[in-house]
């Protein structure tokens, strides 16, 4: 399980747009001109990437709401957040990361 303390809270990159139409959710990144389709769970996580909500809070809330096993929820949340991270849709409040860096964050001293 990831140690989220080193990452802080995820926050949307301000230039990324969310478009919702016909039951589909899409993120458009004008920098890379890429489009990312989100399922409903990913959309819920995206909406919580506000720079104030820690991944642990997301995991706890999903567990409470769905009764799902914390290990499974942790894996799902981590996978979705890492996907956001690798595609540069979010940055993190506790870490300064280069665009190519997808491994461990460098925490501000």
């Amino acid at each position: 399980m990831k140690n989220w303390d080193e990452w802080g809270c995820p926050i949307h990159r301000p230039e990324v747009w969310l478009r919702q139409a016909d039951g589909e959710n899409a993120l458009y990144d004008p920098t890379s001109t890429s489009v990312h389709l989100l399922n409903d769970t990913a959309l819920a996580i995206w909406n919580l990437c506000d720079g104030e909500t820690r991944p642990e809070e997301m995991i706890d809330a999903i567990c409470e709401l769905t009764g799902a096993h914390p290990e499974i929820v942790s894996e799902d949340v981590e996978r979705i957040l890492m996907e956001f991270h690798k595609t540069h849709l979010v940055h993190w409040t506790a870490a300064q990361r280069s665009p190519a860096d997808t491994a461990e964050p460098k925490v501000d001293s």
Partner: protein, 225 residues
């Protein structure tokens, strides 16, 4: 629940035509069986107690004990009976109330009948069913509520044992003299404790302090005070 047998379902709705339609649809499935119907909340609770079904599907607007109250009573009296509420529309507040009452599923009345069948199976399998589009708003609310509770606990930890005793009395509407007499301290000391409690809780009046206790559900923590 025995997975080799059909799930036994209680169906409660004020309108007999709706009940009949849903019954026909559910019973077209070999793994679902409607064992009882109810036209109001009180009858639904009584039928649940008598038959202990696997699942109760309740309309939220039931007369004579609404769906939320009936959910709470069924979950309290028949813990193995899971409850799914049918609501007129997607409503975040109603969904939270339903989950807090013990419901395991929430579906709008406008949903396709196929969704109702899937939802019944999902809930009978022990899962919780929440409309997908409501998940995000609900998670946000849940997290904000948790933060509020954490903050309340943090403030409570700032209080000394004596100050907790004072807060417990304040929450019950006690005045300075009553607090002083109850705790066998002088009225001036009681006033000092009250000022300290208000300061630590970050509230400006006794009324706000009492509201803090009620809103954050910390009366239990004060019970031993």
């Amino acid at each position: 629940m025995d997975r080799n047998k059909p799930a036994r379902i209680l169906l409660a709705d004020e309108h007999s035509l709706f009940r009949e339609a849903v019954r026909v649809v559910l019973e077209s499935q070999p793994d679902l069986q409607v064992v009882a119907e109810a036209r109001d909340g009180a009858q639904a609770v009584a039928e649940a107690e008598a038959l202990a079904p696997d699942l109760a599907i309740l309309d939220v607007g039931l007369p004579n004990c609404d769906g939320l109250r009936a959910t709470y009573l069924i979950r309290e009296r028949v813990p193995n009976c899971r409850v799914m509420l049918l609501a007129p529309e997607e409503d975040d507040n109603l969904l939270i109330d339903a989950l807090e009452a013990g419901a395991s599923g929430y579906l709008t009345r406008g949903s396709p009948l196929g969704d109702l069948i899937d939802a019944a199976r999902t809930v009978c399998n022990g899962e919780t069913l929440i409309p997908r589009g409501m998940l995000g708003a609900l998670l946000g609310r849940l997290i904000r509520r948790r933060r509020g509770e954490d903050e309340a606990v943090r403030k409570m930890l700032l209080l000394t044992k004596r100050e907790r005793e004072v807060l417990a009395l304040l929450a019950r509407g006690a005045g300075n003299d009553t607090i002083a007499q109850t705790l066998v301290i002088s009225p001036q000391t009681a006033r000092t404790h009250i000022q300290n409690v208000l300061g630590k809780l970050g509230v400006h009046s006794r009324l706000e302090a009492a509201a803090f206790v009620m809103q954050n559900g910390v009366l239990g923590e004060l019970a031993g005070a």
